[in-house]
């Protein structure tokens, strides 16, 4: 069997499907654990049993989300072994440690502190229970840390050494891997987005109670916590997003250019606040990239490099090279990459023939060109450019919605603090209907990060076409649809159980 574009596309589609479904459940757990911990803290501090009822209610919804989402991520591990075996082998040593820590941490945390949190209300002291709730919140977020360290490494591989004898990356510096700037900013941005989603969820459901004119005091209590936590989290999200964009600018300039539809690099580059891409625009023509756009001058330079006058390379600069800026063209990188691939092959063959002298020479050539290795597998230079439309629209959807969430939290916090939210039906409707947009923003963020870094499975080193296994395309297609059915079933189950619980209200728990 040969690697075909169709096989790669289906393998990618399947991974995207499972990751996107998995990501419907995870961020709510990340944020809701903190919200219930805050609510329970208020209960323990005040001794007011109404806060206990409030905490238990949201804990119930957390349990539903947790149970339905549980193990949906394991499917991705199946896929690593079957569809992405080349990739799994090559990254094995780097991924092994973080994922093993994540597995152990998740198991011990979930089997102990989760149990105390759900079953221990009348069995342990208030303080012990509160400690368990906080440990669940911290633990679930730390669990995400290890996954995002692994992901950050794929976006910016550091702290490793490629062993040409085993074809595996070996960890050289664990602290470089865990303190990889991309991993740190990715972790902070991802978990804080989870806090925002959970706040929107709590605020929206509280608004529903207000619309139904039932459990108003409970809804107000919940809305205050959701609005204040949501506002803090969404403002923090802006700073982590800024750091994330800075890291992308430094290590994945093509992704940044695609996210902004920037073809020609410039100083004082602007951010497109709103834009409609011109579908006729390609790298090889001079058409305007946008049919319509509103730009904020200098903002992209500032976002990417924290300097309003900084030069931001565009897709054309990265494709054709820019001597003045020290940017090597993609065709040149492809040439260097092919030298890396050929010298690795030569090293292997000399080693097999026990010709140590020539093997050492070939290895030197390989190591000198290794950082371009991935480009050696590209069929044409255009393959180095991700989908501009997907990157641009997903990024702008995420940012646009994120801005809306800040406004919503400011308004809702004001009206909850002035005891007026239960009279503002327009605000209740806005809060309720914003819940799905919280999920849209989450998924758009994932697409920006993952589709925007194409064609790379490991940035600059391994394109997705080389990362896939030689398996039958039909088998990947079948499992794609099996997952689509399974996950849709789980989603329907979640929504149904959630709705039943929500309708039963805080006293029905």
């Amino acid at each position: 069997m040969e690697h075909t574009d169709l096989l790669v596309d289906w393998s990618r589609a399947q991974f995207a499907l499972t990751a996107l479904y998995h990501w419907l459940f995870v961020p709510l757990t990340l944020g809701l654990t903190f919200i219930v911990a805050i609510m329970e803290t208020i209960y323990v501090k005040t001794g007011d049993p109404k806060w206990k009822t409030t905490t238990k209610y949201w804990m119930g919804l957390l349990a539903i989300n947790f149970a339905i989402g549980l193990a949906t991520g394991i499917i991705m591990e199946f896929e690593f072994g079957t569809n992405w075996s080349n990739y799994s082998w090559i990254v094995g040593d780097i991924f092994g440690a973080p994922l093993a820590i994540e597995g152990l941490m998740a198991f011990f945390m979930e089997s102990t502190f989760f149990a105390v949190m759900f079953f221990g209300w009348e069995k342990v002291s208030k303080k012990m229970h509160l400690t368990s709730t906080w440990l669940v919140a911290i633990g679930s977020n730390l669990s995400a840390l290890w996954i995002l360290i692994a992901n950050g490494w794929m976006q910016h591989p550091v702290g490793m050494h490629f062993n040409p004898d085993t074809a595996r990356n070996e960890m050289q510096n664990f602290s470089e891997v865990i303190f990889n700037p991309n991993a740190v900013s990715k972790f902070l941005h991802t978990v804080s987005s989870g806090y925002v989603l959970a706040s929107l969820f709590v605020l929206g459901i509280s608004a529903w109670y207000m619309l139904k004119k039932r459990d108003i005091a409970f809804a107000r209590r919940s809305a205050i916590v959701a609005s204040s936590f949501g506002l803090i989290a969404s403002l923090y999200l802006v700073t982590t997003g800024d750091q994330s964009a800075h890291d992308v600018a430094l290590t994945q300039p093509m992704k940044l250019a695609a996210m902004e539809g920037l073809y020609d690099g410039e100083k004082r580059a602007g951010i497109i606040a709103f834009g409609v891409l011109n579908s006729a625009k390609t790298i090889s023509n001079d058409l305007d990239p946008f049919i319509a756009s509103v730009e904020i001058p200098g903002a992209l330079s500032f976002l990417g490099y924290h300097n309003i006058n900084a030069f931001v390379p565009g897709i054309n600069d990265l494709m054709n090279g820019n001597n003045k800026r020290g940017i090597i063209s993609i065709p040149e990188k492809m040439k260097l990459g092919k030298i890396a691939v050929a010298s690795l092959g030569a090293y292997k063959n000399f080693k097999k023939a026990k010709d140590t002298e020539h093997a050492a020479e070939a290895l030197k050539v390989f190591q000198a060109h290794q950082k371009y290795m991935g480009y050696g597998y590209l069929k044409k230079p255009e393959d180095a450019v991700p989908s501009i439309a997907l990157s641009f629209y997903s990024f702008h959807t995420m940012v646009g919605l994120g801005s809306w969430f800040i406004i919503l939290f400011i308004i809702s916090l004001y009206y909850t603090m002035t005891h007026e939210m239960h009279n503002k039906r327009w605000l209740q409707y806005l809060a309720l209907f914003t819940i799905p947009f919280g999920y849209v923003a989450q998924e758009a963020g994932w697409i920006t990060a993952e589709a925007g870094r194409q064609p790379w499975a490991i940035q600059d080193l391994l394109p997705v076409g080389m990362a896939t296994s030689n398996v039958a395309t039909t088998s990947v297609m079948i499992t794609f649809w099996l997952f689509a059915v399974l996950f849709t079933g789980l989603l329907i189950a979640e929504v149904k159980i959630m709705l039943t619980q929500i309708k039963s209200g805080p006293e029905g728990h």
């Binding site: 349990a63 339905i68 549980l70 199946f78 082998w89 090559i90 759900f118 092959g345 099996l482 789980l490």
Partner: protein, 78 residues
């Protein structure tokens, strides 16, 4: 003061009853556990077993062979 042995027994009894009472008194939790059990069964007993073999584990006997195969792929040798 209770002897250490009694304290340990008491601790494990408490842990046992934490879980036992928790599971017995669950309401919506029972549906969730059923759902989790079905889901894990479908994932591990059907999907993993039928559709998701570990390709390199199945095709090769040892890591040396696996490494050689991947090197062959990376160097694009037929």
């Amino acid at each position: 003061m209770l002897p250490m042995e009694t304290k340990i027994i008491h601790f494990f009894r408490s842990v046992y009853f934490l879980y036992y009472d928790g599971f017995i008194n669950m309401k919506v939790g029972k549906t969730l556990w059923l759902l989790i059990a079905i889901k894990l069964f479908v994932m591990f007993a059907i999907l993993k077993w039928l559709f998701f073999p570990d390709v390199l584990q199945e095709r090769f006997d040892n890591d040396a062979q696996r490494g050689q195969y991947i090197l062959q792929q990376l160097t694009q040798e037929k």
